[in-house]
Amino acid sequence: GQTATTTTETTETTEATQETQATETTQETATETAEAGDKMMIAMVTDYGDITDQSFNQSTYEACKAFAEANNAEFTYYKPEGDSTAERVAMIDKAVSDGYNVIVMPGYAFAEAINETADMYPDVKFVALDVSEYDLEGEGSDFNSETYPNVFSAVYQEELPGYMAGYAAVKMGYTQLGFLGGMAVPAVIRYGYGFVQGADAAAKELGADVSINYAYGNQFYGDSDITAAMDTWYQGGTQVVFACGGGIFTSAGEAAGKVGGKVIGVDVDQSKTIDGMFEAGMTVTSAMKGLQATVNTLLAAIRDGQWDSYAGKILNLGLVSGDDTSLNYVGLPEDTTIWTESFTVDDYKKLVADMVSGAVTVSNDTTAAEPTAENVKINFQGNIK
């Protein structure tokens, strides 16, 4: 009651001025854009990390850049001054005032910023990644395609590739696993909880005695402290660690290298990066999500005038096909995963098919503070730093 009224009032007043402001801005930039025709002007605003985080921002950046080069579109990126909605909004305002008409924003943290800017700039196309309905509208969301008519967001079901990785690892014969998250942000937690569920399921199937060391590094880069913790894991018997978050694999890889341990990559196929840095064959597999594919699809749709079929939607991207895994937004890399006899590429495809068919279900509930499992012993260590 009370709260709601206040909020609405504020929004209204803001809207009023912001609209005038928006009109002014567009008027000023109108001449420029007219000359350039309907040229796509793509701007990416980064999350707090920069575009070389070896993860989220970087994949998005690379996809946008590649697209822009291939399609003769204008592209740049903005990095907010700090980690706050106000500063993200500032960069969106800046991008629009600089004439950009497609804004790409990776990260759930953009929800508030979208809230504030989307209706201010109705002619600008907002492409968000990882921003969910709940991030935008809160618990009692009655989200529909008219809520944000110029926004598209893709949310990934990270728990699925996490599950696959965990399942695969146990099936491949590893019984002592590790999960090293970056910071405990939603996507990382989903990966982690999926990983635990996958391992749990495989352990149940095999009746194997499986344990998982579970921790977050509380940062997206490795350092001596995290390497020390990883050394403790590997030298304490851990065979494979799912290094889940930006550059944190450097610590896992470093420690794995000393004892011939293995690593699982994240987001993209990291085998080249990790193996290249440490030793061939270290990367067992990677739990991937199709960031780049999404960016490509969306930018292509905008180029081809098909924005309307995406506008206003929030898609929960995961598996779409049980037959052709290349159509899926999440999965394991078929070429670089080191398949074994106990878990072949066909086993993987069957798993995918089962997931699509509903024979295998994965929970995306991340409300619990710690992951739980029935057949796997979890050694939860919280934040290392």
């Binding site: 709260t3 206040t6 909020t7 504020t10 007043t13 803001t14 009023a16 001025t17 912001q18 005038t20 402001q21 002014e24 801005t25 000023e28 930039t29 920069d50 740049t76 990126y77 903005y78 990095k79 907010p80 001054e81 700090g82 980690d83 706050s84 909605t85 106000a86 500063e87 500032a90 960069m91 305002d93 800046k94 005032s97 759930y108 943290a109 508030e112 709940y134 991030d135 809160g138 910071m183 405990a184 942000v185 939603p186 937690i189 977050y216 509380n218 940062q219 991340t366 409300t367 934040n383 730093k385």
Partner: protein, 376 residues
């Protein structure tokens, strides 16, 4: 004849301490910007001029007046906590204490204000008070250690910065969003905890973060100026700072003064955090693994402000101005850290201010003596 008079006037003009401080600070700024410009030139000469102008322009890079005003608002919103941290350091400096712990006191203030707002659902003034007390308590710890156990305040301050960070991360873990490391949004959870704006936001294109925190910070600076230069309390604090033993001899409670000073200093830094977090501008991220730089930047503002509360108002604004300006650089060419680079150069240069004043004074005196000698 006229020329000579002119010269005398000019000299006496430059012999005023306030004029010297301002000149020195301006000189630091100019040299700092120049070095920054040179760095930009080295990185990439083509866009360097535009880049330095971008930094200096900050919100003026927005073409529309409304947007510029809005982002002037943002700069001010962040300048207010910076000013508070600077005042914290300055107040303690007057009492001979280098309060590097302001960073941790700021963290404590953030923790307390957000917990009172989100955990207890209390209104803004209660949260502000909580921040003041929490920052103050962190200050008091430093003060007690200093007064009774002779622990160097710089070292204990640094240790407490980290302890504060981890404690606040743990504490605020209780009021964070379910699936993100950020604390709950004030606007959604407890709007009464947002500092009122009393219509002030209208001046800044309805920038919703603009609140009375900004004028409050300025008011506090003015109050501090008055307290330090005109009151009995200021007299005692400064005496304790300059000469602890003499203060004790004269019957001042020098230990109490040290502790009280750090309490006030801590309180100011804590308030600074409230002035930022209770506007809703920023949410605390409970996975932060480094102490926010606000407290350290306060050192810059203090010294650039010539260790004077009024000067610090302008210095805080300036430092925030170029820091914000840095975020508008073309990141494909220039790192945004250029702004930090420039502000740290400026702080470094502030170290030379004393010498500069000394030099200026001896020049003034020398030329005066010469003139007097000539008149004989």
């Amino acid at each position: 004849m006229a020329g000579k008079n002119n010269k005398i006037e000019k000299e006496s003009f430059f012999s005023k301490p306030a004029v010297q401080s301002i000149t020195a600070s301006l000189l630091c700024i100019v040299i700092g910007l120049l070095i920054g410009y040179i760095a930009l030139l080295i990185i990439n000469p083509v866009g360097a001029t535009e880049a330095i102008i971008t930094i200096i322009k900050n919100y003026f890079t927005y073409p529309s007046k409304a947007a510029a005003l809005k982002y002037l608002g943002n700069t001010l919103v962040k300048a207010a906590p910076l000013l508070m941290c600077a005042l914290s350091i300055q107040f303690c400096y007057q009492a001979g204490l280098f309060n590097i712990g302001a960073a941790g006191q700021y963290v404590a203030g953030a923790g307390a204000s957000l917990y009172f707002a989100l955990g207890f659902g209390l209104p803004w003034y209660a949260c502000i008070l909580a921040a003041l007390v929490a920052g103050g308590v962190f200050g008091i710890i430093v003060g007690l250690l200093k007064a009774y156990l002779n622990v160097n305040e710089v070292i204990s301050g640094i240790m407490l910065n980290w302890i504060g960070l981890y404690t606040v991360n743990m504490l605020l873990g209780g009021v964070k969003e379910v699936s993100s490391p950020y604390t709950l949004s004030l606007a959604n959870t407890n709007p009464s905890a947002i500092i009122p704006s009393l219509g002030l936001e209208k001046l800044f294109s309805n920038n919703k973060y603009v609140t009375i925190a900004i004028p409050l910070a300025i008011l506090i600076a003015i109050i501090l100026k008055v307290v330090l230069s005109m009151t009995v309390f200021g007299y005692e604090i400064k005496a304790t700072g300059i000469a602890k033993d003499a203060a004790k001899y004269s019957g001042m409670k020098e230990k109490k003064n040290v502790i009280l000073t750090l309490f006030i200093g801590g309180g100011l830094a804590g308030l600074g955090a409230a002035f930022l977090f209770l506007t809703g501008y920023e949410q605390w991220s409970v996975t932060q693994s480094s102490v926010p730089g606000m407290g350290f930047n306060g050192i810059a503002a203090t010294f650039l402000g010539g260790l004077d509360p009024i000067g610090t108002i302008f210095a805080s604004y300036f430092i925030q101005h170029i820091t914000s300006g840095g975020s508008y650089l073309d990141k494909n060419v220039y790192p945004s850290q250029i702004s930090d680079f420039i502000s740290s150069i400026i702080i470094y240069l502030c170290g030379f201010v004393l010498f500069f004043k000394f030099f200026l004074n001896s020049r003034i005196r020398a030329s005066k003596e010469k003139r007097e000698g000539g008149n004989k």
